[in-house]
């Protein structure tokens, strides 16, 4: 097992290097120029544009830029944002707490609804409870989370004259202000997230409930709650955990539109701004960060599999 863990950790390095190379190449293939963009709409002569490009190192050959960047990376230096001139690490660090917290709250919200409702829907298959839960979950899948967000904001403004705060307050400073800002986005994102997880829980649990060992457990006279929770649910959780984990990883950088709707200063909005600005160092750092999150989450999920299903062994 230890060998497996070390091997997986070492494998992350070439994966992330591959991501880095791919991001570098793809971004250079996309047309556009941060300097022209910076001065868009202004009467700025070409020599100023050329000088500015040189200042940012964009006039160097691509391979030189690549070597420079990889050298910096080797020293864990992500460089400076071409747009603001500030360290990329600072730009990311400013936004990361909000994105992480939102992902955690949305996940808690989603799991809190998905697991119990998914189990009820499976256990009470084809009853009114099952139908109601399925309608609820289809609603979550059908409605984009940003639209739910817009409706929530308009609803609270219209009916209560209130909208979530526009400025992020860390939870350690003022938990009320913090949750006031994040609860509505977490609900709008978590609803879709819970719908996906709920349907997965229901379908996998239905499969497991038809297994022989569940019939055996029931034949032994075990209480239904014990049969479901201890014998069926645990085995049904493998795909559910995978879905929940990947959704969590997605939430770190994928909530672009929701962040816009609630004006959240998160990683998704930063990534879109960076791409819009052709801010190469920032894009590269963010893609690396998001790739790392996915790689690490996948790794953790694999380890959770062992805990959930003792039959799984890595060597």
């Amino acid at each position: 097992m230890r060998r497996y863990v070390v091997g997986r950790l070492l494998l992350m390095i070439p994966t992330l290097v591959g991501v880095a190379v791919l991001t570098f190449v793809v971004m250079r293939l996309v047309p556009g120029d941060i300097v022209a963009l910076r001065y868009a709409g202004s009467s700025v002569p070409q020599d100023v544009i050329d000088r500015e490009r040189a200042l940012l190192g964009l006039d160097k050959p691509l391979w030189t830029q690549f070597v420079d960047w990889m050298t910096q990376l080797a020293h864990l230096d992500f460089g400076q944002s071409l747009w603001t001139g500030h360290a990329v690490i600072d730009e990311v660090w400013t936004r990361l707490p909000l994105s992480l917290e939102l992902a955690v709250i949305a996940t808690l919200f989603a799991v809190a609804f998905a697991l119990p409702l998914g189990v009820i829907a499976a256990v009470k298959q084809d009853t009114w409870a099952d139908y109601a839960i399925r309608i609820f979950s289809v609603g979550g899948l059908a409605m984009p989370s940003f639209w739910i967000g817009i409706m929530l904001v308009l609803g609270t403004i219209t009916f209560f004259g209130w909208a979530p705060p526009l400025v992020f307050t860390p939870i350690t400073e003022d938990p009320i202000a913090n949750l006031s800002q994040l609860i509505l986005p977490a609900v709008s994102v978590g609803y879709r997230y819970s719908a996906v997880s709920m349907r997965m829980t229901r379908s996998t649990l239905l499969e497991v409930l038809r297994e022989d060992y569940v019939r055996t457990a029931r034949a032994k006279g075990l209480r239904e709650t014990l049969v479901v929770v201890r014998h069926a649910l645990r085995n049904a959780l493998l795909p559910v955990v995978t879905v929940i984990s990947l959704e969590f990883a997605f939430l770190i950088g994928g909530l672009v539109v929701t962040e816009q709707v609630f004006n959240l200063n998160g990683i998704g909005k930063l990534l879109v701004d960076a791409v819009t600005h052709r801010d190469y160092p920032l894009i590269q750092a963010l893609v690396l960060l998001l790739a790392s999150v996915f790689v690490i989450v996948n790794f953790i999920v694999d380890l959770i599999y062992v805990f959930l299903d003792p039959r799984i062994r890595y060597s």
């Binding site: 963009l37 009467s43 700025v44 002569p45 070409q46 020599d47 600072d90 200063n265």
Partner: protein, 558 residues
């Protein structure tokens, strides 16, 4: 000697008049619309205190006003700085001294401008501002130290300056290469923040990441992507006409909200009081309905315009008849009426802002192809010109930005107008970055370009009309070279008689828009600012760059 003195006094008067005339750039007659019509509080006594919260819909790149060109820098950062001259926040038709102590003195040969400085101006670190600081500031703007990484996109606007001198501690002197009509008003450029010479000496790029000015508000904090906070500078030199110390506000907070709907919601939920750039008519109406008793609205013509730019290096747009036909096909008056209901364009005008100090009369404008009121006759002429040029069924790609307000509706309008004369234009919408790349590489047939300025000033608005291989390099995306037009632009720039200059500018408009039809405006923009009416002491101007230091803004108690 006495005659020389009289000449000097007369010239000072003339210069002051020129400044005032130039300042008509700001002469945007504030209007109101919508049901909540309270706009400006007249005769009220300002109440000190409170924090102004406003929306900025973009993030400033660096913090250096000399280096950047976006309003997103001015709105949060201008309150930290002073200028040499500025536009009077109480009367935007006037230029008034800021750190200058009175109007400039211009020598008889109009080649030396001397300005006395206030002696009570302090930087936020407590050091006194002197002429060395003003000299260092203007040296950085006019002749940036490029070797040290300084950059100044507006250096060209001061090409007339041969030297900046500091003859004594509180006097600054500009030596000019030739008399210039626009130089004095350019001293009120909102970008020309006065910087500390000591800071610039220690690090020529210090101001890109730091704030330290002499303005009415000191820097408190900036959370990237979220907000910018300033507080009242107790040592600010400014006072109002009653002798009350400025600014009135205790502080301000700029909220960075890039999504337009979120910006509207911020005002609707009263988390923000105002956004200084502008909203669409629909957003104004939404806010009016939601806040019928709490909203005020100011509106004004805007010194921003979209141009149709045919690439003259690409056939058949090298043929003047084709370019003229493209302009003739556009019924601008009908377009203005229809589009002004949904987006931020409205007035028909030439190369200078309609109703501005350099605008053509309506009668003269109507004589230019494409600007007449008989749309049917113009369209018939367009068809004839296309047929004569051998392209009766012209088709091309029309390059545009993927920005809804107002680029996309304007382009859709144009495409429809062209279709009516047999032209098939395919809307080629691109993200701003590749759009800019195509413009700069000449990789397009016809494009929708745009321009915004802080001042009604021909030197600014005609910058895109210089020959593409000379002064217009990187600006003129029609890619023509025309020595005659260059000569005309240069001549108006050197003409210091305002009336004569207006005439020269009119000649340029006729030549560039009609005779050669190089590139031409579609519709001029219209600025709409709905805001909570507790905000007082702010007046809309014809641009979103000036009048942003917030010195005279105050908050009513209710």
């Amino acid at each position: 000697m006495e005659a020389l003195l009289r000449a000097r006094i007369a010239f000072v008067f003339l210069v002051t008049a020129t400044l005032v005339i130039g300042a008509c750039a700001q002469q945007a007659k504030p209007g109101t619309s919508g049901s909540p019509a309270a706009s400006l509080a007249g005769g009220e006594k300002p109440t000190p205190g409170g924090t102004l919260t406003f929306v900025v819909n973009a993030e400033p790149p660096s913090f250096d006003g000399h280096r950047e060109t976006t309003f997103a820098l001015l709105h949060p950062i201008a309150p930290h700085y002073s200028l040499l001259y500025k536009f009077d926040p109480n009367d935007l038709t006037k230029v008034i001294p800021d750190v200058a102590d009175g109007n400039p003195t211009v020598s008889a040969d109009k080649m030396t401008v001397t300005i006395k400085l206030r002696q009570d101006v302090k930087f936020h670190d407590g050091t006194q501002m002197t002429s060395e600081d003003v000299k260092a500031t203007y040296d950085k703007i006019i002749t940036p130290n490029t070797a040290a990484g300084q950059s100044s996109p507006r250096a060209g606007a001061y090409a007339v300056v041969s030297a900046v001198n500091a003859p004594d501690k509180f006097t600054i002197e500009f030596k000019l290469k030739y008399p210039s009509a626009s130089f004095l008003t350019n001293l009120a450029s909102p970008w020309n923040f006065i910087y500390s010479a000591a800071k610039l000496k220690a690090d020529p790029r210090w101001y890109e990441k730091n704030i330290m000015g002499t303005g009415p508000f000191t820097y408190v904090s900036n959370t990237k992507g979220q907000d910018w906070v300033g507080k009242k500078n107790p040592d600010y030199f400014g006072k109002d006409k009653d002798g009350t110390k400025l600014p009135y506000l205790d502080g301000y907070k700029a909220l960075i909200i890039t999504d337009a709907t979120a910006g509207v919601n911020a005002i609707r939920s009263k988390q923000a009081m105002i956004e200084f750039r502008g909203f669409t008519p629909q957003q104004r109406d939404d806010l009016s309905r939601a806040l019928p008793n709490d909203l005020a609205i100011q509106e004004a013509p805007w010194i921003c315009v979209n141009y149709v730019v045919p690439n003259t290096k690409v056939k058949p747009f090298d043929d003047v008849r084709v370019r003229q036909a493209l302009s003739l096909a556009i019924d601008r008056y009908a377009g203005g009426e229809a589009l002004s209901k949904t987006t931020i364009v409205k007035d028909v005008g030439g190369l200078m802002r309609p109703k501005g100090p350099f605008a053509m009369s309506d009668a003269d404008l109507a004589k230019i192809r494409g600007f007449g009121k008989d749309a049917a006759a113009a369209k018939a002429e367009a068809k004839k010109l296309l047929a004569d040029a051998g392209v009766p069924n012209l088709s091309f790609k029309f390059l545009n930005r993927n920005i809804t307000t107002p680029y996309e509706p304007v382009a859709v309008f144009l495409i429809d107008q062209w279709k009516q004369v047999g032209i098939t234009a395919t809307h080629d919408v691109k993200e701003t970055s590749p759009y800019q790349a195509d413009l700069r590489a000449g990789n397009f047939q016809v494009a929708l370009d745009f321009n915004c300025d802080f001042l009604d000033e021909p030197d600014l608005q005609l910058a895109k009309f210089w020959s593409a291989s000379k002064a217009g390099k990187g600006l003129n995306f029609a890619y023509y070279d025309d020595d005659k037009l260059d000569g005309m632009i240069d001549a108006q720039s050197r003409q210091t008689d305002p009336a004569q200059r207006v005439k020269l500018v009119g000649d340029i408009e006729r030549y560039a828009m009609d005779e050669k039809a190089y590139q031409y405006p579609v519709l001029w923009w219209y600025r709409i600012i709905p805001y909570l009416k507790i905000v007082r002491g702010w007046q809309i101007g014809s641009n979103h760059y000036t009048n942003q230091d917030l010195t005279t803004v105050w908050l009513a108690k209710s």
